[in-house]
């Protein structure tokens, strides 16, 4: 059975990992509904994984469809939430790179995630960066390395108990024993703490 540790960390996401493990078991037994709930639950994470590689929205949609169809063939091999999330992230990233390499699409040499964000027309950034807190966070993230930007963007969408599995799938383990902060979050906190605009 899944690790049912008390949800002391944060109540806004009460044991999302255990819930996904339960859905996984039901999906393996053929429940369309459970599989659909897993798709709804984890597609936003895979969207960010795929878009962070620089793919267009249309290509990202195709990658997600392919990844979920592949999962169905592997359901019997995957037994807990961490393994599921790790498998999905790894497969999405591999498939995204395959599409990048195959198409005539060219990745920009400088993989700055923030620079690659879609243009949503004039004024959109102002609408998004609503308040000062968000603006400061945005500015601090943009100072991080491209690797750290990618990791944090993706981790932020992962079920909490599975951070370590996601980071490992991205080639950036965040601690072998428990979920540690990792250098990307540490760096982000240092940047925010040193922001002169905070005063």
């Amino acid at each position: 059975m899944a690790d049912r540790r008390p949800a002391t960390i944060r109540t806004s996401q009460p044991d999302r990992g255990a819930r996904i493990a339960g859905l996984l078991g039901a999906a393996r037994e053929g429940s369309e509904d459970a599989l659909g709930q897993i798709v709804a639950e984890l597609s936003p994470l895979l969207w960010q994984v795929t878009r962070a590689t620089g793919l267009s929205s249309g290509d990202a949609e195709d990658v997600l469809q392919t990844v979920w169809l592949r999962l169905v063939a592997h359901l019997d091999d995957i037994h807990d939430s961490a393994a599921l999330v790790g498998w999905l992230v790894t497969t999405a990233k591999r498939e995204a790179w395959r599409v990048c390499a195959r198409g005539r699409r060219q990745l920009p040499a400088d993989q700055d995630l923030l620079a690659e964000l879609p243009d949503r027309g004039p004024g959109s950034e102002e609408q998004v960066i609503l308040n000062d807190q968000r603006r400061r966070l945005w500015a601090a993230i943009s100072l991080l390395s491209a690797r750290c930007q990618e990791l944090l963007r993706i981790i932020a969408f992962a079920p909490r108990p599975d951070y370590a599995a996601v980071a490992a799938a991205l080639g950036m383990p965040v601690g072998s024993i428990g979920p540690t902060r990792g250098r990307c979050l540490a760096k982000l906190r240092a940047l925010l703490a040193s922001d002169p605009a905070a005063s």
């Binding site: 932020a156 979050l185 906190r189």
Partner: protein
């Protein structure tokens, strides 16, 4: 820039704490606002997964071109190529005047096959000719998916349907 607070610099090896979770929540909100997943995508994926009990071979997107007819800027045609182990499927999608779309397709290697177009409404059927050509004259806009039925007999690729990802027409 002033240096970080020397008293308690956040260490990479420390366990995640409330401030980290707060930051991750903030990052998630930021990217949800800036680059949101299309809201109907999970529904379209479920649509694809409903086919999974068939004996299928998945074709994946190989190439996509969007051409705008220069003379009349509103008319567009889209060419999409899908590849699978045994088959390449190329389709060209053009808008009809009545709001539906026309889909012309080619199979390579050329062969006669039954072809089904799954749509949000009733499925449509067509058959390719000896040159591998097929056409759906009027397809409703929305989610659609092509299923090439198994070849009746033959040494290679027999017995398997080839299915494309769901696409939006």
């Amino acid at each position: 820039m002033t240096p970080p607070d020397p008293g308690h610099p956040p260490a990479a090896d420390d366990p995640l704490d409330e401030a980290d979770f707060g930051l991750l929540d903030g990052i998630r909100e930021l990217f949800q606002a800036i680059d949101p997943m299309p809201a109907d995508l999970p529904e379209r994926i479920r649509f694809s997964l409903a086919l999974r009990d068939l004996e299928i071979e998945m074709a994946s997107l190989a190439e996509q071109d969007q051409l705008t007819v220069a003379a009349r800027g509103t008319e567009q045609s889209r060419t999409i190529t899908f590849d699978s182990d045994s088959l390449t499927i190329m389709i060209r999608i053009e808008a009809n005047r009545d709001g539906t779309v026309r889909v012309d397709g080619w199979l390579a290697p050329p062969q006669r096959r039954e072809i089904e177009m799954k749509t949000a409404a009733d499925p449509l059927t067509a058959a390719s000719d000896e040159q591998g050509r097929f056409a759906f004259a009027r397809v409703p806009r929305g989610t659609a998916q092509l299923i090439v039925a198994p070849a009746a007999r033959g040494p290679a690729g027999a017995g398997r349907s080839v299915v494309t990802p769901a696409l939006i027409l």
